[in-house]
Amino acid sequence: MRLPSGTYAQNYGQDIAMVRTRSHWIFLAVLMVFVFTIPQWASNATLALATIIGITIISAHGLNILTGNCGMVSLGHSGFMMVGGYTLAILCRSAGLPFWVALPVAGLVAGIVGIIFGLPSLRIKGFYLIMATVAAYFIIHWLVLQFRSLTGGTEGMPVPAPDLFGLSIRDKTIYYYVVMVLVVLATVVAKNILRTRAGRAFVAIRDNDLAAEVMGVNLFSYRLQAFFIGCVFAGIAGGLSVQYYSFANVEQFPFFDSVWLLGMLIIGGMGSVSGVIYGVVAIKLLQQLAVKIGPSLAELVNPQAAVGLSLILPSVAIILFLIFAPQGISHMWERFRNYYQAWPY
């Protein structure tokens, strides 16, 4: 990150602070106000979209740690979300645990499952690892259907509405706030993890696993840790999503969602925490655009135009980014800002 001139750090504590300049603070404050006032002025549909974007951001943070920072591309992320979702559903419904207890447990369970499927990462990487995560998704999917006494099989299972100090979280507005608080938390945690010991080890592994090993990074342990952290985020997102629909079903976590999550990272910028947010918003809005203009194309093409477009638009965006701006929006933004700060030079 380049800082504008006139910003000095007088001790190391200042130098490692997350927010450094006044404009940075203002920007953050405006963003927070915007995010937290959405329910006041937006329609229910916008609110629903914002909630879903929030949940996706949490999940994408996890994938970003795993893929963007540790370099292990996963196409099984929606499988791990499924684990979290079902864990929450089972805990809330069958064990009667409160939502607040079940949500972290959902994250942990997803993390542990992530570790199990991350085990092959000791021996394989790159494309082979992608394949292992594909296998993970389908195996999880199948297991969920198999243990129907626990999961309700294909029918899925309803989840009771949680109470928060007497307020029903089923209320979409309150739930939106819950999700957004978690999004902010997840963003801070993701950012912090990346600038400390574990995060540096992850990037070291991504950039140069041989050197990392020689420098004392335990590859095996850190790869599994990356899987664990990434999947904890996925599990929490899965739990939130299940709670949002008050229902758990395997079809809420389709395989292609993992692809979109990856696409969000590409568009936002692999490895960048703020990029995650840009990417998620961009793809979700593109999909929303497809749903919007789809019906008007229905007459011209066919009634399914919306679905076709909601596949084509984000995919084409991903392709264009891969070709023309492989470092994503966050990098473009950075360059624009550098240019702007250096203006008129």
Partner: protein, 296 residues
């Protein structure tokens, strides 16, 4: 015993289908080190093309196949030019991501073009049924068998004995060297994509004759990836052997293990992935894949 044989033979036939799709993947990987995740989507598109040519247009089968090959050639060229060539020289990962996005585009196109509806053309392909004692082989599988044998023979011939085959093998070894010697690597890449698309589309027409055309058909591409992992990423022989092994195992599992499962099983859909995971852990380079030494 008949039951077992039936499962075995059907598995063999299914495996040939897998092998056909896997070959397309292997050719691309071998020559350009690119992983084509969209191979299933190409197959799915092939099935829809088969439907269009055979049902609404009611073309004879040979004409349909010929036009489909022409479409495959076009498609290969377009895909290579628009999506793969801009990434030339980059590490393999962006290309994987590119083909994933490509999968999304092809899925979308199929939905825009055919409405994502189920379309069948069961009775248009020739029905050759083989009877081996009490066991009968499904006609589509016999066709797949014939097509893949012919294809492999052609490919082997091209690879071994023609000039372009030499160029392909050379490019597979070292792109820079071959380019510096005046061989157009881009031509070779375009060619491998053309081959892969043609194989995929022809495979799709055959497959569509069995299952009909519908967007979820592209899932078979993921199963073919399991085949490729089992056989070894860069081995055509591996693709065939892996396909057959996986087809048989999948079928045996569905026949013998499914009834033992608490809720009905449905192992057929997940078995290739279980095998893939096992292979990845214990023998990541597959049965026939080359193992490359990593040097510091």
């Amino acid at each position: 015993m008949t039951f077992f044989l039936q499962l075995f033979i059907t598995g063999l036939a299914l495996g040939m289908m897998y092998a056909l799709i896997a070959i397309g993947f292997v050719i691309i990987f071998k020559c350009s080190q690119a992983f084509n995740i969209a191979s299933g989507q190409i197959v799915m598109l092939g099935a829809y093309l088969g439907y269009t040519f055979l049902m609404p247009l009611a073309l004879p089968v040979w004409a349909a196949i010929l036009i489909a090959i022409a479409v495959g050639v076009m498609m290969g060229l377009v895909i290579e030019r628009l999506t793969i060539r801009p990434l030339l020289g980059q590490p393999p990962l962006p290309i994987v991501l590119m083909t994933i996005a490509l999968a999304g585009v092809i899925d979308g196109v199929a939905i825009l073009g055919w409405g994502g509806e189920y379309q069948a053309y069961h009775d248009r392909l020739p029905a050759i049924t083989l009877h081996l004692g009490a066991v009968s082989v499904p006609p589509s599988s016999v066709l797949a068998l014939i097509v893949s044998v012919v294809l492999v023979a052609i490919l082997m011939f091209v690879f071994r004995f023609t000039k372009i085959g030499l160029a392909m093998r050379a490019t597979a070894e070292d792109e820079q060297v071959t380019r510096s010697l005046g061989i157009r690597a881009t031509t070779v890449y375009a060619l491998v994509w053309v081959i892969a698309c043609v194989v995929g589309i022809v495979g799709g027409i055959l497959l569509g004759g069995v299952s009909g055309a519908s967007p979820p058909l592209s899932d078979i591409g993921l199963k073919a990836l399991a085949v490729v992992i089992l056989g070894g990423l860069d081995s055509i022989e591996g693709a065939i052997v892996g396909g057959v092994i996986l087809g048989i195992l999948e079928n045996l599992a569905a026949g013998y293990l499914d009834p033992l499962m608490p809720s009905g099983g449905g192992l057929a859909n997940v078995f290739p992935f279980i095998i893939m995971l096992i292979v990845l852990i214990f023998k990541p380079h597959g049965l026939f894949g080359l193992k490359r030494i990593e040097r510091v």
